[in-house]
Amino acid sequence: MIAEAGLAALWLAAALALLQLGLAFGLGGGEGRRIATVQAVAIGQGLMSAIAFAALLALFLRSDMSVLLVASNSHSQKPWLYKFAGAWGNHEGSMLLWVTVLALAGAAVALFERRLDERTLGATLGAQAALALGFFAFLLFASNPFERLNPAPLEGRGLNPLLQDPGLAFHPPTLYLGYVGLSVAFSLAVGALITRDVGPALARAMRPWVLAAWILLTLGITAGSYWAYYELGWGGWWFWDPVENASLMPWLAATALLHSVNVLAARGGLRAWTMMLALIAFSMSMVGTFLVRSGILTSVHSFAVDPARGSFILALLTIYIGGALFLFALRIGDVKEGAPFEVVSREGGLVANNLLLSVILGIVFVGTLYPLFAEAMTGEKLSVGPPYFDSVASPLALALAAMMIIAPQLRWRRDSAPILPRLLPGVFVALAILGLTFWAAPTIGWLPRLGLAIGLGLVPASFQPLFGRSLRRTPLATYGMVIAHLGVAVAILGAASDSAFTKEKLASVRSGQTVDVGPWLVNFRSVMPVAGQNWTALEAELRASRGSGVNVLRPQSRFFSEPPTTTNEAAIESFWNGQLYAVLGERDADGRWQLRLWWKPFVTLIWLGGFLIALGGVMALAGRSWTERRQRRRLADMELYP
């Protein structure tokens, strides 16, 4: 019954989306009554989608094997957390999650959005309904998650063991919330273009959505990077895999949007540009979904490979992105010109930031989709990998970081005061470090060398906006910017240190033998069998010492029976100045064990940086909504006591 109820709720939600679309764009009722109805319908649509998703969760938690999706992706003996996560660890479930978030975001706009005038709000909700409708159709006609399986098997096929990890259980929903949160920015832009109402009020309405989506994307990408690092056992943290690029592209667009929406909200400038970015950002989310869900590109992450569904999503994509760009082209002439500014100004710096981010986005986009075009044009199958992205995108990312040393020190509109003294600390540190690296680490590559210099130069520069201000009266949003920019510096330092100073050792050892890696002596003690709830493993005991104390590492080779798979569980020990990483390999005919060790100085800074960037976003979001609420209350007070 639960499956049928879920499917019914899904159909109802789709019907409500259709109704919402019709009502928003002019069927029946007067203006005033209509917007209230549209809002109510949007809330109903969100509720129905949530019920459908709750039904799927219930089916997974109860291990109802008469449902095809549960039987093919779950197992009754699995820990409950992975039954729960199994609901979205597959194609149909993740698409249902995607649509549910989309519908709930629409409901939230209907409930909470008070900055927009009624017509723009109505058009926005209409656009959101149009988006949802396409994805509802995709679920109902091409990927029904509630399909029954008759006869029901006694047992399910299990969840891919690589997905059985607490971090990964919550990684996709975080990314999805981010992806789909950008749909609101898209709908707001479409709504405002329809009603020709592009201005600071729209930017203020859009900003919290962009910020929230961007925070979740940042967290999702950071978590995904760490997951790849510790679960795959390759010791790398970014592979330029199409699936990773799928999350990076919307993040790049959202980062640019986040900066330009601030210019529009605070200064009324960059109107057309901001609308364009809002359309691009969610388009990138959809392109990402298409890439991941169609399995059309070579990816080691391809969990779902189905070209038929790919063409359905491709059709949706063409309609939405094409339609939005067409609307943009029609209306952009009517959008008022923004407030003027000079080249050397905060706006100028933000334009430079936006251009650099767009160029990086373009490079990642071309590199990710080039194999598709090449195959369509010439029939040749090829893939683009790290050599391309590293050599083309990384220098631009460093240029962007170098811009960050300068741009935040500039003032709005025009900057005639001498800027040099403000730039000095960051530039001085960067140049000093650059010189120092030639002396201290002459052999490292030029990318890590520049990374160390620019990263360390960005540390003092990111604090500089606080200098000469009353720290108590500085808005929380400014602290947010400081922390986020500091996070970028920290992440760059981690990446540069990892690629410059990592030490690696590969050895074949017997128990009792000792190998060295970097400053560590690692003694290989023994290999013992161990067992978990749904796996057995061979576990090695390593004793690592550096000077006095001893750290014990226990890497495993783990066997899952449902489905039959082996995974490597790396052992990672963190220290203030780096991580020791150990992977256990196979036993050879002589009874020796393969062992791979890495000493990775300051590698943790990569993810600490990502976390700081997200934290900065949270501070900006909290600071802004607090200020706005206080302003609204003051306005209300003035009306009460004239």
């Binding site: 690589l162 003027p340 490079i363 090829l382 893939s383 391309y388």
Partner: protein, 145 residues
Amino acid sequence: MTIRPKHQRLILLSLALVALMGAVLLAMWGLQDRAAYFVTPVDIAAGKAGDGRAVRLGGMVVNGSLRRNADGVTVDFIVGDGKATTPVRFRGITPDLFREGSGVVAEGRMEGDLFVADTILAKHDERYMPPQMEPMTGNMTANVQ
């Protein structure tokens, strides 16, 4: 420099266009010698992976070719695609789905006639297969599935 409001949008527009074209040109330049990242032994025989250029080699581990060296961490094997073969050397821990007669994807570079791999890609599950290897799957599916 002061920009008149009328001209500002025009300047921004042209800047954006220049940036976009720059991105595409830069990407094309980057792709020129790095696009054929995925190669098979036939491509290598045709000289598509010049000495020292990082590429990803895909193919089948030829039956009977796998040899583990005395040091315990180096394996030698031959990758074939039905038309040509390439000898491969890898120092490291091979993934669990790596065995003779099975598909393999290795990252590395040609050093003379030998392909030296830095990484043997682990597959997330036994169903994974790069699209580039589809033509070879005839003799592969039995082992892979």
